[in-house]
Amino acid sequence: MSKNKKKIGAYWASSCGGCDVALLGLHERILELLDFAEIAFWPAATDFKYDDLKGYGNNELDVTFFNGGIRTTENAEIAELLREKSKLLVAYGSCAHQGGIPGLANMSGKNELFDTVYKEIPTTNNPDGIIPQESIKKDGLTLNLPGLQERVRSLDRVVDVDYTVPGCPPPPELTEDFLELLINGELPEKGSVIAGSKTVCEECSREWNKESIDAFHRPQEVDIDPDKCLLDQGIICMGPVTRSGCDSSCPEVNMPCKGCFGPPSKVEDQGMEMLNSLASVLQVGEEGQALEQEKELLSNLPDPIGTFYTFSLSNSIFGGKVSEGGEND
């Protein structure tokens, strides 16, 4: 392998694995990539051990694509190690970016999670009520497992992050964009999100007829008009509060945007911003008598946290039910 080749790392923390598949989604381009880069660490695709990683010098990896949120002590430890070994650390995908879907677990404390998963789920057969321990002794030997932390954190809440490639998973085009910028030495200022600068609505071809919303529907409940704005049809679409760059791929196929690219630059809390915007276009009943009907309308909204904070609960201002220090504050 040539010495000039860039060393690329990839790692998955608390995630589903989709981001690793998305890297593979570069298809034959990945071979082109190998002309100027070598894979120095990618446990999901190649056989690397942590000791290999520990063996690298500081900043030896040119760039590391880190996907997944920080859920376990192992996630945190490797994040710190990769930060040390990488010139550029990229939060890759929604979980590393904002905590992602695993971040929804921040609505429950660690013990609640264990109780649910290991005791309460009807298909679980665990008469002794055993829950995982971080350390067990057997036959004089001790086995240590990584511990579950109180809450899921995004990568940037644990270590310094240079760039973000968003998405669940990131579209291959954005990954290519990032690599091209990297190779050409044209990367934008540190902290940038490699995606569009506006929101999904800008790329969406649907028409919003500028009226108000008087009922909410789930996509499967209605015959969706393919030309009309989904919000207009009462389907909660997170497009208005979600960064562009995906070519509006979900709304284009009749699915509402779930917000995987995170908020645009001037928005701190994606879900709250959406609620705020929705609140001002809700229109039910006659003025003065609307409150009760509005309450009813909102009570018909299934799973508000899961709807408005699908990917961003962990990074939101309210952050879920558990704090960094303990549960249920």
């Binding site: 919003w208 911003e273 915007s277 001002s280 276009v281």
Partner: protein, 653 residues
Amino acid sequence: MAFKPRIGVFICHCGENIAGTVDVSNLAEEIIGYDNVSFSTDYEYMCSDPGQNKIKEAIEEENLTGVVVAACSPSMHEDTFRRVVEEADLNRYQCEIANIREQCSWVHGEGNDRPTEKALKIIKGTVEKVKRNVSMEPVEREHSDKCLVIGGGIAGIQAALDVAEAGNEVILVEKSPTIGGHMAQLSETFPTLDCSQCILTPKMVEVNQHPNIELMAYSEVRGISGYVGNYRARIERKPTYVDADACNLCGDCEEVCPVEVTDEFNQGLDTRKAINIPFSQAIPSSYTLDTEACLGLNPLRCSECAEACDADAINFDQTSEYVEEEFGAIIAATGYDLYPKEKMGEYGYGEYDDVIDGLQFERLLSATGPTGGEVRRPSDGKVPENVVFIQCSGSRDPENHNSYCSKICCMYTAKHAKLYRETVPDGNAYVFYIDIRAGGKDYEEFIQNVREEDRVLYLKGKVSKLKKADGKMKVWGLDEISGERVEIDADLVVLAQSIIPSEGAEETSEHLNLNLGANGFFKEAHPKLRPVESLTGGVFYAGTGQGPKDIPDSVSQGSGAAAKAIDLLAKPTLSHDPQVVEIDEDLCSGCGLCVGQCPYDALDINSKGVAEVNELLCEGCGTCASGCPTNALSLRNLTDEQLTEMIHAHIGD
């Protein structure tokens, strides 16, 4: 920061109003140490001349860049103090009020330090705002000085005449072939019993002759775009097929016309020809060919009218003409209709010929009506001996019909009963009523007079049943006062039919995005303080389109709307507070949510695909700024940064 703000804080005692609770001299001392505050003082009455001079002197001597006046509510003296700073050559938006009276001293007791502490926080918050304020000039726009009046009833006529008299050009658009509205149908008017047409027709003629009024009868507004001062309306002038200037009203055409149809002006009690004039004093004074009734123009099936016309006034080739005009102000005077027969199953309305509504009875009483003023019932032309008047027909009946009171029916029913008794001295008049509502000048006296002098029998109660048996109409009801059941053989039943807004209200509301209330009447900007204004700038209401009202109220509102329009049109340019929303095009995705949120219709998505604000329409309410999902919208001088810093100052971190 290159620019270092120098803020002056002026603390008003407001006599004892503030100083009695808040330690004002302590405030002045405390605030001087605060960031960017380079001057502070307190004074007994800051709004007085000496108080105002203190501000002006300090601005000059201390070279202040911003002023905080800690005093009463900004709704009280914000403008006063902004004028003061302007006189000292400081931009008016560099002056802010810290309300330490209504929001502090008045609501907190004396005897402890807390009101003073709170006042200090309020002042600090205001300092944080004003030091980030930008200087601004008012938004100025040119405007058209024409006025569009929609509807040619008495309210629209009055409004058009007043605006025209003030020197502004008016286009008065009326849907039907003549102006005059329902008032032209009335026999006499309560409580003075003036002949309706006698007082109305001179005004109609005045409209026709006024050099500043262009009357477009038999015309309809087809679309309106624009905004206050700069509306553009497209008006269709429908073909009458008669040249109004040439027509000499000889009536020959009408005589030879072979088609007879129901006469709307006589409320269906009579027939008219396909070519007709609604009544002889109609304005414009010309015939109209009703093409729906005519045997046919294309191909021409009958041209007897044209052949009979010596003046050659009839032109079958006329087509709709479209006029587009700019208007500075619009007055919506679209009037009322009666609650339709189809919706009234009870009382045999629409089923029995001799159950009629109030307007039909007006036509029976009118000297120009189908019976020449003799009260003869529709079915057989017989003079009715027993007439039952039923009030609140379709009104005050939230379960079945309209919940509201139509306001004029008590009075016109009394008038009807009186005029009937005068015309048929031997006849009996019975009035079923729920309550008598006679709130108006000389109204109660009129009712009393009718009850006592004209021997009209008033029965408090509702009619329970009306049925025809043996060729006679029987009316059953309850007299609540005697507690007895009443059964009357009626020859004629007159329903005081509920008033509803005409179709024009909804049409106009669609053109101009006006709010309609639950009952379909125009909704005013404020029910008490802005009763003739709509929330859409430059659009005013007159007459019954806004709610049931009698002639004097309609005329008053017509004049009121005219005064508002004149006030607007008289201004050389339209000036608007620049504290409006601003759009960062780099952040806006053109999602359009703000467009629907804006209560003033001030926002739209422009050709670049981003939001654009019409600064003249924006009232700076901030709904869009808080609703914008990308924070591309912010209010001038009330930015998120300002609000955040104000909050920090208030909570003291």
